[in-house]
Symmetry: C2
Subunit: 265 residues, 2 copies
């Protein structure tokens, strides 16, 4: 599908999705934060989809239903994953590529390795694969009553700049916001992804009939002492901004492997 260009008089089209589901306070906060910047359309999952990563629905069909919970903003809930929402929005709701795709505001952190598991960031990455600049927003607060004021302020600041500066058609930003009153946030900080992850284990239990089952649990650990990482920025009350790419090639290892691998017996 060719990218439809707006004339200068038309408002930019802003597609908004998330992974916490269309009823989550975070997506309402994001919509409110940017609705003065363009024509906003919401297409989001009809249920929570956290931890879905870049899952897509290929074995069953999808449903799309208009909802009226966003006032005068066009909004739909979709039965699929966050990535499905982006694909379906472009093909069946907008009938064009939006000028920008936003995802979130997620209830909980998506810094460091979390970017890999995050439905929020996978939706943003999907947009960037489709040459739609995108930003995923996550607040480091899982609470349903989280204060989105700081996150909303920086979402507006960033979206305004990304729309006007047209930096890269594959631009994808992973933005995390610390838990702090807006006044205490020190500003945006462009970072790299920290090597920090969950040290996981499974809690082993028995069901009433005696069969074992396992719950994933674990503690977050930072193995990365760099001061240029998203984890460092967040610990120091900056809003972290990590540009993310979908080319997963490890070029350093590629060169090494070309030297050491025997190609054939």
């Amino acid at each position: 599908m060719a990218k439809a260009k707006n004339s200068k008089k038309e408002k930019p089209v802003i597609l908004i999705t998330n992974d916490d589901g269309i009823t989550a306070p975070g997506i309402k906060a994001l919509t409110d934060a940017v609705k003065d910047l363009g024509k906003v359309v919401v297409v989001a999952p009809d249920k929570p989809q956290s931890g879905m990563g870049h899952a897509i629905t290929i074995g069953q069909p999808l449903r799309l239903t208009a909802v009226e919970t966003f006032g005068d903003i066009e909004a739909y809930q979709c039965s699929g994953t966050p990535v499905d929402c982006v694909k379906l929005a472009v093909d069946k709701v907008l009938h064009r590529k939006p000028d920008i795709c936003l995802s979130g505001i997620n209830h909980g952190a998506n810094h460091s390795i979390n970017v890999i598991y995050s439905g929020t960031m996978s939706a943003a990455l999907e947009a960037s694969i489709e040459s739609i600049p995108s930003i995923g927003f996550s607040l480091l607060d899982y609470s349903i009553e989280a204060d989105f004021a700081g996150a909303a302020y920086y979402a507006n600041l960033l979206v305004k700049q990304i729309i006007s500066k047209k930096i890269d058609k594959h631009l994808c930003l992973n933005v995390n916001i610390p838990i702090a009153p807006k006044e205490l946030l020190k500003g945006l900080k462009v970072c790299r992804q920290a090597y920090a992850k969950y040290e996981e284990r499974f809690d082993e239990r028995h069901d009433p009939s005696g069969r074992k089952y396992y719950w994933l649990t674990g503690e977050f650990q930072n193995f990365d002492k760099g001061k240029d990482t998203d984890v460092w920025a967040l610990e120091n009350n900056y809003v972290s901004v990590v540009p993310v790419q979908f080319d997963l090639t490890n070029y350093t290892l590629k060169t090494k492997l070309q030297k050491v691998l025997t190609q054939k017996h």
Copy 2:
């Protein structure tokens, strides 16, 4: 968990998983291909999990059940995703990190952008995050009756080298094998990920009660003319080997953004 080191007399431990499910012929072919190279343990999903990306199960518990379909090889089916299988295998089956984790052989291609959606490759990537070298194998043939002879040959060749050469603890290889008789395959080719993807659309239908539903469909298109890509290699009968990384930071854009973004109002 500390990485358990084998003494020289102990066989390397090889963990095998997939995303097509434990009954798929591809995982049997992979197990057979490498069982002479170490102590093989299989932990794979109890049902197909294609397109699950890096999804993890966080809202419900997991089940793990021993199965005897791999002869004298220890094998378990898990109710979770491919990534869950790797995590659960390390914590509850092996009680240590394996020396290598293999995923596949997938029935169908995981070259180019497919690496992002692939459960096969997400399992491999999960292992590499945990400092376990890993390889995902995919044959460009969706058929249940696919001929795995060529894939098995190169799986054995590669695994032997990766075990003995200890190249990098975070090594993760995305290996795709063309549909061709083993004799016609030209050898391994280390490549980069092509910018090639599905141009997707949704097939719109109506259910018996008149409500709309949508099926994802589309055609694969290669936008990348490079001769150093996985798509080129496969079209020319090479087995493509792309080293994959979990640091998604776009360092080029990071430098650019540091210059152009206003950090605060």
